[in-house]
């Protein structure tokens, strides 16, 4: 498998569905249809909560339509991931006892994609002899399930190089979850290399306010009861200047100055709401829990094309407690954001729920 997928992009490939775009350098990332964006606020204010719901397929034409959303950014995101891994292999790690969980998650992803997107992916199985076809990335692989020597990477890394979103695999021991494998190339400023091997309360240690509210105690209790076949999901969000997927602490000295580049003139284009649609799956063989952190980016310009979202984002950003704005890393630009967003808030009431037209 090549590191840098060299598809000759042409408009007629896959009916021109996949965008040829970048998350670095000239930042050509855009959303063709902003209404597809999973806007995370179902009301006009925000505070941490145990916001967990069943991960069941949702409305057509949204990011919730399928178990795993494959969207127009797929190829560009996989290209960006390959570049990050070439620069820093520590972004994908798996402790030795996690190989079985890696196979579990490979199976989960291949089955879901072949079922929901048969035009792009297919999986043929004859006992443990599997053939996987990934047309957008030009992959046709025959391998033996549970035999790592038959794949070009370990099972976890192999499937992660073909899957949007950062993923971590949690082993369950001693009444808690241990982050013992993971990949992080589109993370909101946390280090996989530092956190790997930690338990649920340890890796959440830097989060303000939520420990005191008992949120992590309750969330963990809930997760320990997670059943195979009954995945759950939740939202998280932050802010990112430029559509930079890889906001890693490792490279912070390289991207930190972008935060100072926002002006009243360019904020609509540069400032992005970064949403993580997180889903959790109990895995059948290993009993581990897979955690998918799928990142979606939308510029403020794109958000305000939906009047309800523009009004609401203004109110959320304006009223967010200072600790959260600081932790999420946008305290320095908040005044500018609030000022700009206020043009799109006429004070009208907003309907509850996050969908654009509710």
């Amino acid at each position: 498998m090549s590191l840098d997928y060299k598809f000759a992009f042409s408009p007629d490939h896959f009916d021109g569905f996949f965008r040829d775009e970048t998350f670095r350098g000239d930042f050509t990332y855009r959303n063709t249809d902003p209404r597809r964006f999973p806007f995370p606020f179902d009301r006009d204010d925000y505070m941490y909560a145990v916001n967990i719901e069943p991960h069941v397929p949702g409305r057509k034409g949204t990011a919730f339509e399928h178990l795993l959303d494959v969207d127009e950014h797929y190829i560009a995101e996989m290209t960006d991931r390959a570049k990050v891994l070439a620069e820093d292999p520590l972004r994908c790690q798996s402790l030795p006892h996690m190989e079985l969980a890696g196979w579990d998650v490979l199976e989960l992803i291949m089955e879901a994609k072949a079922r929901d997107y048969p035009q792009w992916f297919s999986l043929e199985r004859d006992g443990n002899r599997w053939r996987w076809i990934n047309r957008p990335l030009g992959i046709d692989e025959s391998f033996t399930f549970l035999d790592a020597s038959t794949l070009p990477y370990g099972p976890f890394e192999y499937i992660m190089r073909q899957t949007q979103g950062d993923w971590t695999l949690q082993d369950e021991r001693e009444g808690t979850l241990w982050m013992d494998a993971g990949i992080a190339t589109s993370q909101a400023d946390w280090s996989l290399d530092f956190d790997i091997g930690m338990n649920f309360h340890e890796w959440h240690a830097p989060v303000p306010m939520a420990h005191e509210k008992g949120i992590f105690d309750r969330a963990l209790k809930f997760l320990l009861k997670l059943q195979h076949g009954a995945p759950v999901r939740r939202f998280n969000w932050t802010m990112t200047v430029n559509p930079l997927l890889d906001t890693a602490p490792e490279t912070y000295p390289k991207w930190g100055t972008m935060k100072t580049s926002v002006t009243p003139e360019n904020i609509g284009r540069k400032q992005h709401l970064r949403v993580e649609l997180q889903s959790l799956y109990r895995l059948p063989r290993s009993n581990a829990i897979a955690f998918d952190i799928r990142c979606y980016l939308a510029s403020f310009d794109e958000i305000v094309t939906v009047p309800k979202w523009g009004r609401r984002l203004h109110r959320v950003v304006r009223d967010l407690p200072e600790e959260l704005a600081t932790y999420k890393g946008f305290i320095r630009n908040r005044p500018l954001m609030v000022e700009w967003l206020s043009q799109y808030d006429d004070g009208a009431p907003t309907s509850s729920g996050w969908f654009a037209d509710d």
């Binding site: 520590l90 001693e174 280090s191 290399d193 530092f194 956190d195 790997i196 091997g197 930690m198 309360h201 340890e202 890796w203 959440h204 240690a205 830097p206 420990h211 602490p249 490792e250 490279t251 912070y252 000295p253 930190g256 100055t257 935060k259 100072t260 320095r332």
Partner: protein, 205 residues
């Protein structure tokens, strides 16, 4: 002198408690600097100090600020006593000793956080349960810090911010702690405004 107080901060930050002699087949006592005093205090409280010492292997080195209580520990007459000049010189011996340890072994770590963290990391890597390990922090609060950027570890960090001894970036010291690395995390302080580095303050001694 007693247990070094650790301000309760965040959940990944290690916590410590006074050592207590518990029944076991082998007592591995690993200490540096003032940690020797935690050991002698424990022995004073122990119901059968002589019986304990007969099953004890001491691994000791001077602390990061130079405190060397080797003589006091050696005079206790334990089954085995080993003095290393530094922590890196102590760890290979610990790894060898661990190959002979078994489920009835008990671990007592005392002294600086750097010593405790690295010994705990090596003990846990051999599969011993967390519960078999006791830790008492005494003496120096100097920190072992990993630079999240270049991954190099700087030992005995006293100031915040400090300069990474590997890549030279100015780092602030977080309380976020990795047991796998036995280190706190250091993050570039002037990433957003290059050159704007606040004056260093001595936070750890």
């Amino acid at each position: 002198m007693t247990l070094t107080p650790v301000a309760p901060t965040i959940r990944s930050r290690p916590v410590y408690a006074p050592l207590a002699a518990v029944p076991g087949h082998l007592h591995l006592v690993i200490a540096d600097g003032e940690g020797a005093e935690a050991v002698t205090d424990m022995l004073e409280r122990a119901p059968d100090a002589a019986g304990f010492l007969a099953l004890t292997h001491f691994l000791y080195c001077p602390g990061p600020t130079g405190t060397d209580l080797s003589d006091r520990l050696q005079a206790l007459g334990a089954m085995q006593f080993f003095r290393a000049p530094t922590i890196p010189a102590l760890l290979p011996r610990l790894q060898r000793v661990l190959t002979d340890a078994h489920m009835g072994s008990r671990f007592y770590l005392a002294g600086s956080e750097g010593l405790i963290g690295q010994a705990e990391r090596d003990i846990m890597a051999t599969g011993f349960p967390f519960a078999a390990i006791q830790k008492e922090h005494r003496g120096s609060t100097l920190r072992r810090v990993q630079c999240v950027h270049c991954k190099g570890i700087t030992e005995n960090v006293a100031t915040d911010p400090f300069q990474c001894s590997h890549c030279g970036l100015n780092l602030f010291v977080r309380d976020h702690y990795s047991r796998r690395l036995a280190a706190f995390q250091g993050v570039n302080i002037d990433a957003e405004d290059p050159g704007e580095v606040p004056e260093s303050v001595v936070r750890f001694t």
